[in-house]
Symmetry: D2
Subunit: 361 residues, 4 copies
């Protein structure tokens, strides 16, 4: 299948170029009879919107979702849910200068080599604006997950490091209290200073994001290739600017000398005494919190001039002007949550299809 579809039986297909008419998608395989309104999706979209923060890019968009099908009288029909978000506030002419040059660190050259023809305006299909559709898909996924596993299920992400500055405590209650989705309120000021400084220098910063999915039963994941860990890795790595993914202890396990979590009983039920595995063993969830971490690279487009080539193969120097996020991770939080929700929803329905109604739960 072509590459714009994610999921097997709960499935998002997205479309749209950055400076086309709109960004949109289809979510197919949604269970029928679930309550769904534009408002509950809009809330997640608003978290992703640019302009929420002094340090995010200033393209002004309303990013207002239109649901085009699949919902009737406030409930899902079980038919495909199509949606779109108009592109406004864009100035395609701003990009005329980029028509014949490859921006280093962007997909310009790769797209040209692959397709021989590309929409150069704002990155076209490679723009992070495409992730609008992922956030919508993830919001619908969350409705499904709550219907299956109860209101307690949660998928939540936080930034845990910006540049060299790591958090020193993990307080999820703080995450919604600051513009950085930071779980350590003591570090936010340092991040703000760092990013302001970086931005003034025409540079940008990478970041580390952690995501937890809690309240899910043991049993999600389809070995041997569609392991829960493997599909999470794919979903997260498919987000723009992500360069690394780890599950549980991740890279730290290289230097550990054992790797297991002992088991015991807690009020008569199976329990684990630690969670090095990040809630996944042999590719199947264990009932513990599912824990992933991803590395986001520094924004590529900054004010620094850089060497590159033109489409007709001449060397040149490129300076990007205008406003850009010094750290794209800030706006990535709802996107990360969305990808994890999409994976979990698809795996929940796949499990139910093969094995029935979570009888072990």
């Amino acid at each position: 299948m072509p590459g714009n579809t994610f999921g097997q039986i709960f499935r998002l297909t997205t479309w749209g170029e950055s400076h086309g008419i709109a960004i949109g998608g289809i979510v197919d395989g949604v269970p029928p009879g679930l309550p769904l309104t534009a408002e509950c999706i809009q809330a997640d979209l608003n978290r992703r919107k640019p302009g929420n923060h002094a340090l995010t890019s200033l393209r002004l968009e309303k990013d207002e979702i239109e649901i085009l099908s699949g919902v009737f009288e406030g409930k899902t029909l079980g038919t495909p849910i199509a949606f779109m978000v108009q592109n406004e506030g864009h100035h395609s002419n701003d990009y005329d200068g980029l028509k014949s040059v490859y921006r280093p660190g962007h997909g310009d050259y790769a797209y040209q080599q692959k397709y021989g023809h590309r929409d150069h305006r704002g990155g076209g299909r490679a723009s992070a604006r495409e992730t609008i559709a992922r956030v919508v898909g993830g919001a619908i996924g969350k409705v499904v997950l709550r219907s299956l596993f109860g209101e307690a299920v949660k998928v939540k992400a936080a930034i845990i490091q910006i540049g060299p500055h790591k958090i020193t405590k993990m307080d999820w209650k703080e995450v919604n209290q600051n513009a950085f989705s930071c779980p350590d309120k003591d570090i936010t000021q340092k991040w703000e200073q760092y990013l302001t400084h970086i931005k003034d220098q025409g540079k940008s910063a990478g970041a580390f994001i952690e995501v937890h999915a809690t309240g899910f039963p043991a049993g999600l994941g389809e070995p041997v290739f569609d392991k829960l860990s493997a599909d999470l890795a794919k979903g997260l790595m498919s987000i723009n600017a992500v360069k690394a993914v780890e599950i549980g202890d991740g890279f730290a396990c290289v230097e550990a000398q054992t790797s297991y979590d002992e088991m015991a009983l807690e009020n008569g039920s199976p329990d684990f005494k630690s969670n090095h595995a990040g809630g996944i063993l042999a590719g199947i969830s264990t009932g513990q919190p599912i824990v992933c971490r991803i590395a986001v690279k520094p924004t590529t487009s900054t004010l620094q001039p850089r060497q590159t080539i033109t489409t007709n193969l001449k060397e040149t120097t490129l300076s990007v002007t205008g406003r850009h996020d010094p750290c794209v991770a800030i706006r990535a939080i709802p996107i990360v949550e969305a990808m994890v929700s999409l994976v979990l929803t698809d795996h929940a329905l796949r499990w139910r299809g093969q094995c029935g109604d979570f009888s072990g739960v």
Copy 2:
């Protein structure tokens, strides 16, 4: 689709439990008319075999491939290539003691919760023995890749860190010269001592593996979900014991303050002045070497006693006896290469399907 299939149009499906009759698979979508013999596959299988090394597990298997279909007069027919490798040398009774207990760090509990019924012998389907079929698929993939892009294409992996001991130089010529697939001959003795020591203590070691795919053109990868990076992340994370994947600079990009590779001309052709991106931009290959790194956790089963529970929910202590690898990464090298080959082959054929015969190459 169920989870035992990998790839879209070049596609491997695997089957088999550790202590069943055999391990096998089907590779479908193979281009017709390519030379293929059991011998060229057997060479890769032999690299994976246990017993190659004093520090790997000693289950003695011939691991001899039988090709059952899809090849006629030494050439691929374009029809499905089925194959299998008999399971010999296994002693199912060795595992009777594990029937009613969940081994911590293994998939026992997760499988039981998912399916309600499992083959407890040697991990059943969750056993690393399943990776035999991946090595076969990867070997067939390499034949296809060479037919498409020439004999120069290479997919090669090396261990770059075991426990706390990192290599200090990267000499690919060394990799085949030692039993550790190590590119730094000066560190192999330290690794050997470390693993022997670890093993004597009843512990195990994690490792870091790096894989390079070279000689591939720009254009491989299917945005926005089936990015080359995303599919590599999935393929690699689906390997037993892998807990993290990075592309290019990976986690190091968090602390970097810029992230791009400048472009220039080299003999009139587009060239990059660095490879922070690991050969992939916006999910599409750039023509540079494709670079991934993965973290492999320490072997779970060691001699140390550990707390766990039984299938009928009683607490117990489990001691594994017998022989196990102190570091599973050593045998993982051909498996890592296989997964990368499978991803690249599938993407090459998908690209050709949509865009034609690599005309830009």
Copy 3:
């Protein structure tokens, strides 16, 4: 995967309910660089539009296509082509009376049993209005097919029987000359009289449609399940009101006593002396014209009162008022062509993906 997607690597996904905001879809996997405009698609849509004919239903719609993505500067980008057609001219209130009753012969009861919740207005998702999106997909497919196999390729359908009245000659040049897509101009008056008579009686008529795909090379089709014949059967049977499909001689072969087409050379090239097989052997095209025939059932909704039940399980009698087509086959012609084009395009790209650039052609 959910059921609203057709094709493997050239792939149409459709969405939309009859009386929702719009009908639309996404075509993914389109080769890049092909000329594409709304106009060339609109031409096919216009052929499908109601109101073209005194004997077709009178819902007045402009059915104007909007292309939302995937096309830039008049050429395909290789990214998903999203499109939609607004629903206008519908009067949802007309359907209030149908909210709590199951129309016999329609999908009302089946949808309710499957999903527990349905859009009763005009059939919702089960409406033939959904086929708008198929016609768009087929029009894009034809652009691809011409780029691959030359301008000579043709997919053309004709009605060959309405009620008991069969054509007696097959003149493809006539098909565009009359409102019935009839290849026998001598029978059109009889059809018109028959349909007028039938309609006056509050009845409807079935029909037989034949479709030919010509100019295609030998080699299309993916045994053993995705045979060209099998995928054509699926695509055609998925059209509303179709109840039977045959390939080549089809049902007539039951009474034949042999079934083959002898081969010979024609100007030195392989040739067949007949085409009982309908251009497909063992599921693969032979280079001869690909010939299918389908049976379309009489329109279900007619003026005749009929017995049925209500959603709260009471018996009742239902009389449909308003205007309906006495024979839906008339408007089905471009839909039939579209489904055949979609199948052929997908198979052409699949073949190219696996086997390369039609080198045998």
Copy 4:
């Protein structure tokens, strides 16, 4: 995906050439914990075996199934079930004369044009011997269907016409009582005479098969493309020698003047007063018997000499010697049932995945 896989979440992949080592397959997505033994599959295989009947081909094979994985302690594990049936009793040398000639009516020419390389022995992959794997898949499907819907579900096929001779009554109890799977015992003698006569003349006969699936609930089928009717059409048309498929009234609806089945209540439950629709409306099952009919063409290989060409493009005449079935439909009965079972199983699990546990049933 390549063409050797059938089904979305209950999925059969088959492999094997007629004169290779074996024929086999993998069934993935099987619910865990179901009782399964080789014996219950073997029973269906035995019904397909050649040599059961004086009028079927005499290749002597034991056709004994080996289950290679996915079953443990007599129950399905939920992991892939791999199986194979050895090819014995074949004489590859018998086919040397066919290496360089295209048999008319067979796939020889089409395979050669597609793949450029083929296994000419007995048709290779195009041989009906491949259907062994379908019968196995269908037998496993039946186990799943009974676990979901109870022991009363049935999928049963019968021959209803051979050559010009149609049955005049439909008594399902007769079907297992004669070698023709004929529901009308009064016609079997006429069929036997007809086939003997046809065979003596070196000719062959086509046939008409009807299949009923009973005991299934309303709700199976995934509009708009994966309608139950569409997937049945595909599955049935993918069987060797099938040239036409109809659902319910099928082609007869062309001459009907209405097409619906009225509804009423029967003991308070929804009921239909007829079954013109064949148990499927808008692509979803209605709870009535699902009724399909297929046309099987006369055996292609008969004793009659025929004109053809050689692989190096010379005209020639070909006479097939040896023993062949005068009517392949006789052995097709279990294959037809298997394809219908595969479709229904896949749709049942897809429905459960999306909508939950058949709560409306």
